[in-house]
């Protein structure tokens, strides 16, 4: 074959078929490491202990501050109570969460990935456990190369046991959000909890153990969609963990570069010590520039800074910066940092606006409500006297903590219309207004009733007549009006 043939199946493509090389991140000390520890303690503290916080809501309701009660179909978050009818409220939280991601990305790249993402936080914790037991990078590499021995089995065994314990606690904490935490802990311990609780603990133990212990950076690199999305959202002013190649290149070992300096040749500050590479939890070389695998956790900054301190050079060879600034420095211009840009302002405004709408809605939350569904089959029924009847399914909501009485009426129908609710009697037969009746709903619940509306005889009705149901809380006067239609065979 001619050597001019360009193989489409190159050797380097084999990387996709080879198993991933194991990464042994080195422990580092420094500013970003401290920030990461602080965030780890705060976020895991919130996660593990929130279910035990109490919040008094009166005798009828649960006193757990954060609780998703599937059985009674309620969500509780401190002072908030969410009914299934209000789940759309969570849409606001999701929008805020996604725009907050965009904002973080516009300010300093993958802040979420590097510091806040559960995958990062738990992997960090698992790595710490690993290095406590097996030692730092070099020792771990050596241990893995060793043949199996009692010491190796002991170390590996202890590590996996501790990992499983953490994973188990993670799953255990998860289920506590869905039932009264102290009761559930007791039930779990005595084997009385629901099977689903044990199954969920099992599932989360498995996922935590495998994701944080074994898959680690592969989740970020191969599975997570966010790196792809954020790459499309970023711009030239977003700060990123950046190797300042203007300062670092040409790189060389310390002795070499000192020699080059003496000779008057250009020598960069990077002494090619590979500490940034060893520190990296995803195994990238930050000196190659921004790349998909980099979660921008800042640990290479700490690793590099400590080396720069040792060799007596200024820190910040790797730092939060932009490529734009590197180019400006190369041209001798001063770097610019534009954190306030149209996109960051816009994202902030969107967050503020949605948070404002949510706050307004929460402050003006209705305590009663009504929903109406017109019968579909049949749309109308002709009575033997020639009049028409329409049927409706009504659901009355009472979010008060006590039984509430209501007046329910039909409006917009011709005179002589009769309104009935199955099972409800008008107390006084002398009442002439047959479009209104009274009924009550128990505390903190809903009541479904079947409503029937009878048109008067001898009245021409259109095919569809707009009418409405009106629910008035007799104590508070809170009114809900639901518009619907009265159907008849007319034109």
């Amino acid at each position: 074959m001619s050597s001019q043939v360009e193989p489409i199946d190159k050797e380097e493509d084999d990387a996709w078929f080879a198993s991933a090389a194991k990464i042994y991140p080195m422990e580092v000390k420094g500013r970003f490491r401290k920030i990461k520890w602080a965030i780890l303690f705060v976020t895991l503290g919130i996660y593990y202990f929130t279910p035990f916080l109490r919040w008094d809501r009166g005798p009828l309701l649960p006193d757990q501050a954060v609780l998703i009660d599937f059985e009674r179909k309620r969500g509780y978050f401190f002072f908030l109570e969410i009914w299934p009818q209000e789940v759309y409220y969570l849409t606001g939280l999701l929008i805020i969460a996604s725009v907050a991601l965009f904002l973080m990305n516009a300010i300093a790249g993958r802040l979420w990935c590097g510091y806040l993402c559960p995958q990062t936080v738990w992997t960090d914790l698992f790595l710490r456990v690993e290095s406590l037991i097996e030692g730092d990078r070099r020792k771990r590499i050596a241990l893995d190369k060793q043949p199996w021995s009692a010491e190796k089995i002991l170390k590996k065994g202890t590590k996996h046991f501790l990992w499983l314990m953490i994973a188990w606690w993670t799953g255990g904490a998860w289920v506590l959000y869905f039932a009264d935490a102290p009761t559930l802990v007791h039930d779990l311990a005595t084997g009385q909890a629901a099977l689903s609780a044990y199954v969920w603990i099992g599932i989360l133990t498995f996922t935590t153990y495998s994701l944080a212990g074994h898959m680690r950076e592969q989740i970020c690199v191969y599975m997570c969609p966010w790196p792809r999305i954020q790459a499309a959202l970023t711009d030239e002013h977003a700060l990123n963990v950046t190797y300042r190649y203007d300062r670092g290149e040409p790189r060389g070992h310390l002795k070499e570069s000192l020699k080059r300096e003496e000779e008057g040749l250009p020598a960069g500050d990077c002494i090619d010590c590979n500490q940034c590479l060893y520190a990296c939890p995803t195994g990238v070389d930050i000196r190659k520039g921004a790349q998909l695998d980099c979660i921008q956790c800042g640990l290479c900054i700490d690793a590099c800074d400590s080396i720069m301190d040792k060799v007596g050079k200024p820190t910040g060879l790797i730092a939060y910066d932009t490529d734009l600034n590197i180019e400006r420095r190369e041209k001798g211009e001063t770097p610019v940092y534009r954190l306030i840009r149209p996109r960051t302002v816009l994202y902030t405004l969107i967050i503020a606006m949605i948070a404002g709408v949510m706050l307004y809605m929460q402050l003006n939350r209705s305590m009663t409500g009504l929903s109406v569904v017109h019968d579909r089959n049949p749309l109308y029924v002709q009575q033997s006297d020639g009049s028409f009847r329409n049927g409706y399914s009504l659901r009355l909501l009472n979010k008060h903590n006590n039984e509430q009485s209501f007046t329910l009426s039909v409006e917009g129908m011709p005179a002589g219309t009769t309104f009935e609710v199955v099972g409800i009697h008008r107390n006084d037969e002398a009442i002439t207004n047959k479009t209104q009746l009274s009924l009550s709903v128990d505390a903190d619940t809903t009541r479904s009733v079947r409503a029937l509306v009878f048109s008067p005889t001898g009245v021409d009705l259109p095919n569809s007549r707009a009418m409405s149901f009106k629910l008035v809380d007799t104590e508070t006067g809170e009114t809900t009006v639901i518009h619907d239609f009265f159907r008849a065979p007319g034109e």
Partner: protein
Amino acid sequence: MAEYKKEIDQVTGVETTGHEWDGLKELNHPLPKWWLYMFYASIVWSVIYWVLMPSWPLVNGYTKGLLDYSQRAVVTAEFNAAEAERAETGKMLLEASLEEIRDTPELLEFAMAQGKVAFGDNCAPCHGAGATGFEGYPNLQDDSWIWGGDLDTLATTISYGVRAEHDDTRYAEMPAFGRDEMLEKDEIIQVANYVGSVAGLPTRQGVDLEAGKVVYEENCAACHMEDAKGSTETGSPNLTAPTYLYGKSVEDIIAQVDAPRHGVMPAWIDRLGETTVKSLAVYVHSLGGGQ
């Protein structure tokens, strides 16, 4: 396999599978390990499954498996469990009168839910999902009833059916006035047009309605009453109602007088039990036509 020799493709440097077609060799890109292990795991799983669960078909049956699992047994167990769960409310339904059920919100909600499901399972095939009926199958939504539309009457009709194979079934049969030669052809036309005129239908020209009225009073009024409004006591339909069971036109009336059709409704009490029948009565009553 002992003679297998690794062959490296010279252009790409990748190992080949040894397969060759017209000089083209297949490069070896093995499946990912995790995939392969999952594949092995599922083979192991299937063998375990064969042993434990019903799996292989035989000539007269199938391998039962060590766990003795049967979907039918599971359904029966779940059905019984659901019955047991409903037993308490069901007992309350059983003890309460139909009026009490309608006027107690918890019982009403339960009966409506149970009635709706039971209606869909048992009644809808004839009466329609919306209970509006078809020709020959009564409309349960309107307020005209052949046997009566109050709660207790509905429960009785559902329990024992109409012209069904039950000792207590409702029974009524209209004579075949034409087929059995009880009336002359002219008389049938006259009486059908008379009934049509009472029901507000256009009648045939030149038909003697007065004669028809005489025929009606002599032959029909005993059951359908003088005012043609029928009687729920004898199960005689109201002839002034907006809808007729077998079509509302003079031709349909002629056909029915000549040789009436009689539908059958099964008796449900033995099949569904009293609780469900009560729920059904409350549900049908609450559709709006109940009296």
